[in-house]
């Protein structure tokens, strides 16, 4: 579904991502791990084109996408979240969610006047969808609050919920469990599995090994911008190189 070959990006002299390869199979939950500063977030930025790569190719759904704008990639059905959750502070949680909905008639200037009925109808439908998703991440009671009033963990949840509102084919999560309490982590993992069964593909960066090991079909390991290993979670756990990279 998603494949990247030979991706490279340097910041000044630092090769943050160096000749990296990554494949995400359709319908899978794929993990991306590596020590701090390994270049995982940068790789996400390259995949979603928030940062232009120096070299390499990215193919999504059979089409090269490295020349597309970030919003075009999102429209194709590949949506990303941020490591430090970014919420629209002075909008309500519900408005944050509604913004995620794609192909909204009312987001066209003229349609606000030309098709008011359609706009209202869609708003109503999206609102219902948003409520259901908020319910599933345990934020339903906050729907009317300012997003800026949420705690760090709640923001992570809102960001994931908002990404789901786009009804993506592939969703890139950057450390979804960071700062979220353990019970909620389990709940989120259950959710991810459910959504995955419904046909959504996941690529997840995570330092929490329990999450990675329990969720992922396949794991890619990055260190100092380069591929270190890839395989099933069990293989990765046994891999001497990986253990070394993490421990020393």
């Amino acid at each position: 579904m998603l494949a990247a070959y030979g991706l490279g990006k340097s910041f000044g002299g630092l090769r943050a991502v160096d000749d990296a390869k990554l494949e995400v199979a359709q319908g899978s939950i794929t993990g991306l791990i590596g020590p701090n500063g390994a270049g995982k977030t940068t790789l996400f930025n390259l995949l979603s084109n928030f940062i232009r790569s120096d070299r390499g190719r990215v193919i999504f759904d059979g089409e090269p996408i490295q020349h597309l704008q970030p919003h075009q990639i999102a429209q194709m059905g590949m949506v990303r979240t941020f490591q430090v959750a970014r919420v629209l502070s002075r909008l309500s949680v519900m408005e944050n969610m509604l913004l995620g909905a794609q192909k909204q008639t009312g987001e066209n200037f003229w349609n606000v006047w030309l098709q008011p009925k359609q706009v209202i109808e869609e708003e109503k439908q999206q609102r219902e969808r948003a409520e259901a998703i908020l319910e599933s991440v345990g934020l339903a009671h906050m729907a009317g609050a300012y997003a800026g009033a949420l705690s760090g963990g709640q923001r992570k949840l809102l960001e994931m919920a908002r990404a789901l509102m786009t009804d993506p084919k592939l969703i890139l999560l950057d450390e979804p469990a960071a700062g979220v309490n353990p019970t909620l982590i389990n709940q989120i993992c259950d959710r991810i599995v459910t959504w995955n069964r419904e046909g959504m593909t996941f690529l997840i960066i995570e330092h929490n090994m329990d999450v990675i090991m329990s969720l992922c079909d396949r794991v890619w390991v990055l260190a100092e911008g380069r591929n270190l290993a890839d395989g099933t979670p069990a293989e990765i756990q046994q891999n001497a190189q990986v253990l070394e990279a993490y421990l020393g």
């Binding site: 919003h71 999102a74 502070s89 002075r90 913004l99 987001e107």
Partner: protein, 366 residues
Amino acid sequence: MVGYLVFLAISTGIAALFSLGLNLQWGYTGLINFGHVAFMTVGAYTTVLLALKGVPLIIAVPLGAGLAALLGLLIGLSTLRLREDYLAIVTIGVSEVIRLIVLNEEWLTRGTFGVQGFPLPLATWSPNLLMRLMMIALLTLIAGLTFWRMWQWFSKELQQGKTENRFPVGSLILGMASSLLGLAVYVAGVMALYDYTYKAGLMVLLLLVLTVIFWQMERLARSPWGRVLKAIREDEEVAKALGKNVFWYKLQSLMLGGAIAGIAGSFYAWQQTSIYADDFIPLTTFEAWTIVVLGGAGNNVGTVLGAIIFWAYNTVTRFVLPALLPFDDARLGAFRVMVIGLLLMVLMMARPQGILGKKEELTLGR
């Protein structure tokens, strides 16, 4: 007195219209436009020059607004891809360039001599009693809508006050003051319309346009389209990540805000009945900023209220200060600007969110 109140109403209306354009760009989209007056210049000159060539006003005004929007498009195309502070610098530069063009291209704009004697709307019209009564009815309708809107706002304040167990004194004073002012303007308007003068007709026309534009801006602000603008203001990376074409929305905001300022320019020209390049100095832009910040950015009602307060202040100080202070005219003018700066500073310390802004919003983390 009646004449002055009509003048006041027109000036306030123009300031409100002009600032609504800036509020869309800054208050809703977060675009820093320090050259808003450029759009007004383009709107004003296009309207009057075309009218002098015999183009009907009903076509000249939309063309002026259209050219102003085009200017917004050009500014946007050249700067929006750069870092955001560039927009601030470029807009202030463009507004000065436009003013200098107007000053120097005498074949087109008659330079420092200004443009006079251009066709005015409803100027040669002498309406019969029925028409005048109809215009009075229209004015009454607009006044009624305004009061209704204000009552709505006040009862909401009252509700909120109840839950927090306090009486909204500030809101009451504010509401009373603007009600009184509105009432005075309304009565003056009725009197002026009854003995029809050009300015009275212009006032009704302006209030009508202002009402329609205000109402449409409110509608846009609540629409999904407006939601995207607000999202861009909050964090454009998020909007991008959710598939919104941020660049295009910013352009639209810049163009629409520019077009509204262009229409304000047409009315400005009609009120003055002659225009000069020196009418369009950067100070005009900063007055609009004062109005938007005063009322509470991202709040259309606040913007209109800001315009009312601004002009009320202007009037009061014009008549009261000379009686109190032994200054000559030039010094008084400077003193008034100084006091408004001071007031703005005090307001920003006491109520940084603006008069109608929401306090809670300030305490939110990023």
